[in-house]
C-alpha cells in the first residue's frame, strides 16, 4: 500500500483529508527532460515559444502514447473480445490491461468495476440514465454542488425533469468553497435525496472539495455519491476505496491520453444491479429473437466496438504518469500554483476568482477593464494558450457575477518561466487598454 493510501485511510477530518505527505517535487532539469517527452511543446506559436496553460481543457500527449497508438495500428489492429485470431487476442489483452492499470491507478478493488466509456461526459450520462432512472422517482431529489461543470449538472437536471424530482444545490461561498453548513442543513432537511453529484476539483475555480467527509455524511443518509474526477485524477493521488465514493468519473484526454476515452468506477453491487445504458453487441450474454440476457459489468455497459487504440494509448499515459509519480506531480503543481497565485496577485489590475485554501493548479482571474476574450486573443499572440470563457460552468460564472474569466490550468510540464511570460503578457495588455 502506498504512503498516500495510508494517509487517506487514517484521515479523520476535512483538514487532514486534504493534507498530503511531503513528496519531493520536480527539479527544473527534470521538468526540461519531461518537456522533451511532449512533441507539441517544442513548437513556436506566433514566433514565441508555446506556453500551454490550458490543461484543464485537455492535456498534451507524451511520445509514449503517440508511439503506442502508432504501434497498435501498425502491428496489432484487431477488434476486442471477438476474434480467436492473433490480432484480436493481443488487442483484447492490451485493452484489458489498460483497464487494469486504471483500476490500480485509483485503487479500485477490481478492474471489473471500471467501465470504459467514450468520455467523462458519457460516464455521467451513463450513471444518470441507468442508475438515476432506476432510483430517482417522483418526489425524490438529486443534490448537486454549485461548482459543477455542465457535464455533471445538465444530466441530473434533465433526470429530475423527467422523473418529476427536485434538483437541489449546495451553494458556493465567496472564496469558491462549497458551503458545508448549507450542505449539512440540506442533508438534515431533505430526506428524499437519492444522489449527490459533486466534483473532486472545480474545473472553473480549482477548488478541491472535501469529498471524503461529504461522502461520509451522504452515506449516513443513504445517499449514493457520484464524483466527477475529471480534474483530479491526473493531478493528485486518488483512492476510491479510501474515499468510499460510489461512482468516480475520469477523462482519458485530461490525463495525457487520447480523446474518446472516459472512465467510470462504480461499486460492483451498484453496477451489478443497473440496467444497460446502450444496447447492442459486446454487452450481451445470450440473444434469441424474443429475449436477451445481458453480460455482467463492465461489459454490460460497453456496447459496440470501443476506441481500442485510444484505450491502449491511455494505458501508456498511466504508465507515464506513474513513472513520474502522482504525489510528485501533486507537489510540483502545488508549487506552480503558489507561484502563479503570488505573481498574479502582485498585479493590481488582476483579481483571482476562487481563493479556496485547498486548490488544484487552476487559477481563474479577471483583469480590470479587459474582457477575457481580448486577453485570450492577445496572449495567443505571445504564444500563451489559456482559456477565456465560462468553462462550461455558467452557474459558477453567475455566482461570481462575471460573464467569463481567463483561466490557467497547470501541468507538471509547465514552468515558472511560462508564468513569468504570462505576467509580462498581462502587463502589456493592461498598458494597451489604458
Amino acid at each position: 500500500m502506498s504512503q498516500s493510501t495510508l494517509n487517506r485511510q487514517t484521515a479523520s477530518d476535512d483538514q487532514s483529508e486534504e493534507r498530503m505527505p511531503v513528496f519531493q517535487s520536480l527539479t527544473a532539469e527534470r521538468v526540461q527532460a519531461i518537456r522533451g517527452d511532449f512533441p507539441v511543446l517544442a513548437q513556436q506559436v506566433n514566433g514565441k515559444p508555446l506556453a500551454y496553460l490550458d490543461n484543464a481543457a485537455t492535456t498534451q500527449k507524451p511520445h509514449v502514447v503517440i508511439d503506442k497508438m502508432y504501434e497498435y495500428f501498425s502491428t496489432q489492429n484487431g477488434t476486442v473480445r471477438r476474434g480467436v485470431y492473433h490480432l484480436s487476442e493481443i488487442s483484447t489483452r492490451e485493452y484489458d490491461l489498460a483497464r487494469a492499470k486504471f483500476a490500480k491507478f485509483i485503487n479500485a478493488p477490481s478492474p471489473k468495476e471500471i467501465v470504459i466509456t467514450k468520455g467523462a461526459t458519457e460516464s455521467v450520462n451513463l450513471v444518470a440514465s441507468s442508475y438515476g432512472q432506476q432510483v430517482v422517482k417522483s418526489g425524490d431529489a438529486v443534490l448537486v454542488s454549485g461548482l459543477e461543470h455542465h457535464a455533471n449538472l445538465v444530466p441530473w437536471q434533465q433526470l429530475c425533469l423527467m422523473q418529476n424530482a427536485t434538483l437541489l444545490k449546495i451553494p458556493v461561498l465567496d472564496d469558491g468553497t462549497l458551503d458545508q453548513d448549507a450542505y449539512d442543513t440540506l442533508l438534515n432537511t431533505h430526506d428524499n435525496i437519492k444522489i449527490l453529484a459533486v466534483n473532486h476539483v472545480s474545473n472553473a475555480l480549482g477548488t478541491i472539495n472535501p469529498i471524503h467527509s461529504m461522502i461520509a455524511k451522504a452515506h449516513e443518509k443513504g445517499i449514493v455519491v457520484v464524483v466527477d474526477g475529471a480534474q483530479s485524477t491526473p493531478h493528485m493521488p486518488v483512492d476510491v476505496q479510501a474515499l468510499d465514493c460510489d461512482f468516480y468519473i475520469s477523462s482519458g484526454h485530461k490525463m495525457y491520453g487520447p480523446t474518446g476515452v472516459g472512465l467510470l468506477y462504480g461499486k460492483m453491487d451498484l453496477l451489478d444491479a443497473m440496467p444497460p445504458y446502450q444496447l447492442g453487441g459486446d454487452m450481451i450474454r445470450t440473444v434469441s429473437f424474443e429475449k436477451t440476457t445481458f453480460a455482467p459489468p463492465p461489459a454490460r455497459f460497453e456496447a459496440g466496438t470501443p476506441a481500442i487504440a485510444e484505450v491502449i494509448g491511455l494505458g501508456s499515459a498511466i504508465d507515464y504518469i506513474e513513472s513520474i509519480g502522482v504525489s510528485t506531480i501533486d507537489a510540483y503543481e502545488k508549487e506552480l500554483l503558489h507561484y502563479a497565485t503570488e505573481q498574479l496577485n502582485a498585479l493590481p489590475e488582476v483579481t483571482i476568482i476562487g481563493t479556496a485554501p485547498e486548490k488544484a493548479a487552476i487559477v481563474s482571474f479577471k483583469v480590470e477593464g479587459v474582457h477575457p476574450h481580448d486577453i485570450g486573443t492577445l496572449l495567443d499572440q505571445e504564444g500563451i494558450a489559456l482559456r477565456a470563457g465560462h468553462h462550461c460552468a455558467q452557474p459558477v460564472m453567475d455566482r461570481f457575477s462575471v460573464p467569463a474569466t481567463a483561466r490557467i490550468s497547470l501541468s507538471f510540464y509547465n514552468t515558472t518561466e511560462e508564468i513569468d511570460a504570462l505576467v509580462v503578457g498581462i502587463k502589456k495588455i493592461v498598458k494597451l487598454f489604458k
Binding site: 474582457h371 477575457p372 476574450h373 486573443t377 492577445l378 499572440q381 460564472m397 460573464p403 467569463a404 487598454f433
Partner: protein
C-alpha cells in the same frame, strides 16, 4: 505589441474605452437584445426611425469584449442619418467583409472606416464578437426583440 495592431488598432481600443452612443433611447421605436451564447456577451440596440424610415438616433448598451464593443460603437456612428435600405446594405456588406467574401477596398464605399474591423477575419473565433451588434441591429430593424449570433 506591434503584432497586435492588425486587430487591436488604436481606433478600436478608443471605442472600447469610450464607446459612442452607449446609452438607452427611452422613446425608441425599434429595439432588440442580441446575445452570443458561446461567450455570454450581450448588447441591446435601440433605434429611433422617423416617418421616412431614416435612422434619427441609434444607441446601444451591454457587455462585451473590445472587438464587440468597438464594432457596436462604430456601427451606431455610421448608421445615423441612414435609411433603412442603406442600413440593410451596410449590414450585408459588413458580414461579407468579415467572412472574407468582400475585400476591404470594395467594402470601403459602403462602410467607410468600419473596414478597420476587417482584421478580425484573421481570428475566426472572434468574428462573432464583431458581428454581434450587427445581428442585433438587423433583428431590431426586422421587428424582432431578440437576436443571436447562432442562427
Amino acid at each position: 505589441m506591434s503584432d497586435y495592431n492588425e486587430l487591436y488598432q488604436q481606433i478600436i481600443l478608443e471605442h472600447n474605452k469610450k464607446p459612442h452612443n452607449f446609452r438607452i433611447i427611452e422613446d425608441a421605436n425599434a429595439y432588440s437584445l442580441g446575445k452570443n451564447p458561446l461567450c455570454g456577451d450581450q448588447f441591446a440596440v435601440y433605434l429611433k426611425l422617423n416617418q421616412d424610415n431614416v435612422v434619427e438616433d441609434i444607441a446601444f448598451q451591454g457587455e462585451g469584449c473590445a472587438i464587440s464593443k468597438a464594432s457596436a460603437s462604430l456601427m451606431t456612428k455610421a448608421l445615423k442619418g441612414k435609411s433603412k435600405t442603406e442600413a440593410a446594405t451596410m449590414i450585408s456588406t459588413f458580414h461579407q467583409l468579415l467572412t472574407g467574401s468582400l475585400s476591404e477596398t470594395s467594402a470601403k464605399d459602403v462602410l467607410g472606416r468600419l473596414t478597420i474591423l476587417s482584421g478580425v477575419k484573421q481570428y475566426p473565433v472572434r468574428v462573432k464578437c464583431a458581428t454581434l451588434a450587427w445581428h442585433t441591429l438587423s433583428a431590431a430593424l426586422a421587428g424582432q426583440e431578440e437576436a443571436t449570433t447562432e442562427d
